[in-house]
């Protein structure tokens, strides 16, 4: 009887501990943060017409670190991060290449956006159907990919960039402050 008494109670920790552990591990995480399988992989080819009427191909990026920014004129957070991109382009001119991907948007609206918030004069590839974004595994603008000089994706940022993330990740692809 006494031993039955003791063993019975083993059921309590056996149930509570795993449940507690499982839920606890979930606490600190952001469920909206999905790691990109592209990290450590070569950047998929991005090519198409640009806002300026040229054509662009990501093959031309090789040799220098690059920043691929997926944006749209209808995307409000894109407005907040836009000055950071302009800053980075100015500050690291010559060593960093910026490329915009205009996600599901019209040419006029995108042009109006740049006219209003500042045109950094880097190529903006048009992606009216979301086809290019699909290859990048984009969930929605803004998203930014940090690509090193070898053409390998090092980091993906979902949501508007912050100056901390930008400085840290630029350093990781070999762009000093």
């Amino acid at each position: 009887m006494r031993s039955a008494f003791r063993w019975r109670f083993l059921a309590v920790p056996l149930l509570v501990v795993p449940v507690g552990w499982l839920l606890f591990t979930g606490l600190g995480r952001d469920p909206r943060l999905i790691p990109s399988p592209l990290i450590g992989q070569p950047l998929p080819t991005i090519s198409g017409a640009t806002l300026d009427g040229d054509t662009f191909s990501s093959a031309s990026l090789l040799g220098k670190p690059a920043l691929i920014n997926v944006w749209a004129s209808w995307c409000t957070p894109c407005i907040t991060e836009h000055p950071l991109l302009l800053d980075a382009a100015r500050q690291h001119a010559g060593e960093l290449q910026l490329v915009g991907v205009v996600y599901v948007d019209t040419t006029e609206a995108a042009r109006a956006f740049l006219a209003r918030y500042g045109d950094g004069s880097w190529p903006d590839v048009l992606d009216p159907s979301g086809r290019i974004a699909l290859d990048l595994g984009v969930t929605g603008p803004p998203e930014t990919f940090f690509v090193d000089a070898l053409g390998v994706v090092r980091y993906r940022h979902v949501g508007p960039l912050t100056s901390e993330v930008l400085a840290e990740q630029l350093a990781a692809i070999g762009i000093g402050p």
Binding site: V12, V16, P31
Partner: protein, 659 residues
Amino acid sequence: MIPTIGHVAVVVGLATTLFAAAAFGLGGRRGDRSLVLLGRRAMYAALALALIASAAMVTSLLTHDFSVRYVVRNNAITTPPFYSFISLWAALEGSILFWTLLATGWAALVLHRFRDRAPALMPWVGLTLAMGAAFFFAVMTWPGDPFLRISPVAVEGSGPNALLQNHPFMGLHPPLLYLGYTGLAVPFAFGVAALITRRTDEEWLGIVRRWTLVPWIFLTAGIVAGAWWSYGVLGWGGYWAWDPVENAALLPWLTATAFIHSSMVAERRGTLRVWSHLLVVLTFWLTLFGTFVTRSGVVASVHSFTASGIGAWFLGALLVTLLAGVTLIVWRAPQLADRRAAGQPVSRESAFLFNNVLFLVISLIVLLGTLYPLAVEAVSGEKVSLGAPWFNRVGAPTFVALLFLMGVGPALPWGGASWRTLRERFALSVLAALGSVGVAWLIGLRAVAPLAAIGFAAFVLTVMGEEVVRGARSRARSRSEPQPAAAWRLVTHNRRRYGGYLVHAGICVMAVAIAVSATLGTDVTATLRPGEGLTLGAYRLRHDRLVVEPLADDPRVLETRAELTLSGPQSGPVVTALRDYPSSTTAIATPSVRSSLGEDLYVTLIGYDPASGSVTLRVFINPLVGWIWLGGGIVALGAVFAIWPERRRRVAVTAAAAA
């Protein structure tokens, strides 16, 4: 001023509930009834304080008091009063306040109703309920202060969550669901009290069964209203997406339903007592789990509130409840051991037990599915999903089996049945099932799920119909009453049983409607320029014009409207829109739903081009969807019928006693 009153009410509420808990605990230990009385009065005071705090919040919302952070984040000057009012429960802190109001309300109601009854149990019931309320007051005092002030005072707020201010059902669905959730604390409290006092006899079961049914009705109505809301707002043509938060509402419903059935067996046969206790604890735990899931940001969901420090508090409460509940059951397990004999495989109790097994298996499957991504991430660090295709595939067979049991159970006699009885009781219903499947097949229905649902629903309905007719006939004969009167008296004198039948009938209606709508719907997506049209089934829609203008009652909201003309059945103008809220990056759909008995025509605007005035529409024909809501209504009606007090009999018995 008003927010300060609210904040003070919350802090005093914490002190009051802690005091109540202490009074109940001491009163219970010492058997001191005056302490218990004190505890009860403290809980009434806690309800008053929660009411004051909620009123303060509602006032702050209605007066757009932008010194309060919650108001800034969930309100704007242009927000209409109705949506200002329901913002009380539309976001994290406010919903906790509302929750506290309901929890203290239930506690006060129960303590008042039982002020002269079950004196041995009540101190512990009070203790459990007071601790629960204290937890919510504590959350509002520390991590989730709804009255947190900001400085400087904001000029304008960001407005309510767009998704939650687009449909009046937001005013109905959360309160119903919360009433169900919070009410399930009552059976838990009685279960704990029974275990502590070793009074695990039929007394607590009798009390708990009734007090489970009431929150169960609210939970059922809340879930159905939620599905309806999802159908009317999310604009994808469906009503149930196996979203983690939907699952969190379904889980306690499943275990509470299992308990309602197992308690009948426990009452009649003195068996399944450990089991019933487990179900009560599990049900309450799952309501907490649901809150945790919604409020901790552990899983991503349409409904989940932003992640916050509150998650850790809820996790603590979750684990303490689990620890306490399981320890109590394990501790008292020897006293709970069943006195009973081996079961007959073909008997009512075995049907009930099998029903319980299935309910628990479904609960386990839903819980596993909800936690699976979390578990995989904890083990391997990889993000995975588990969604609707899996849930439908695994859930459908179990639900069909439950449908079958629903017909078998009530018709089987307790203790076991002979072949003769079986043949007498089931011949007609099996024929009805086969007949209706045959008819459905001849009409051209080939999908398995609806065929199974139709067959089993016909089976269940015939079994129940036969029984009512048989009972009414014998009553009419023995008391020489006219048949309709006999039938009415039969059902009103046994409300529990026939209310249950009505619930089952509602479930049958829902099952057929769900199976049919999930498999037999059609849809089309098309881009139309003004003047162009599309055809789906018997319907023809013509796109007249695209209108973009601010909403009349909230000018910050920009509405893009496609004005269409429908010809065919239910012809007339149709308007479907997308609304751009300043607080949301994606536009919120306002689908147009044309309901008829047979099917819904569901039109959503998914894209537009202002330059050419062209629109992209997605149009669905959803068969029988209206019957899902109707079935839900029948279920609620049946449950209300079942718990409705039997006045006449009471009068008769009282008269007899007086004589």
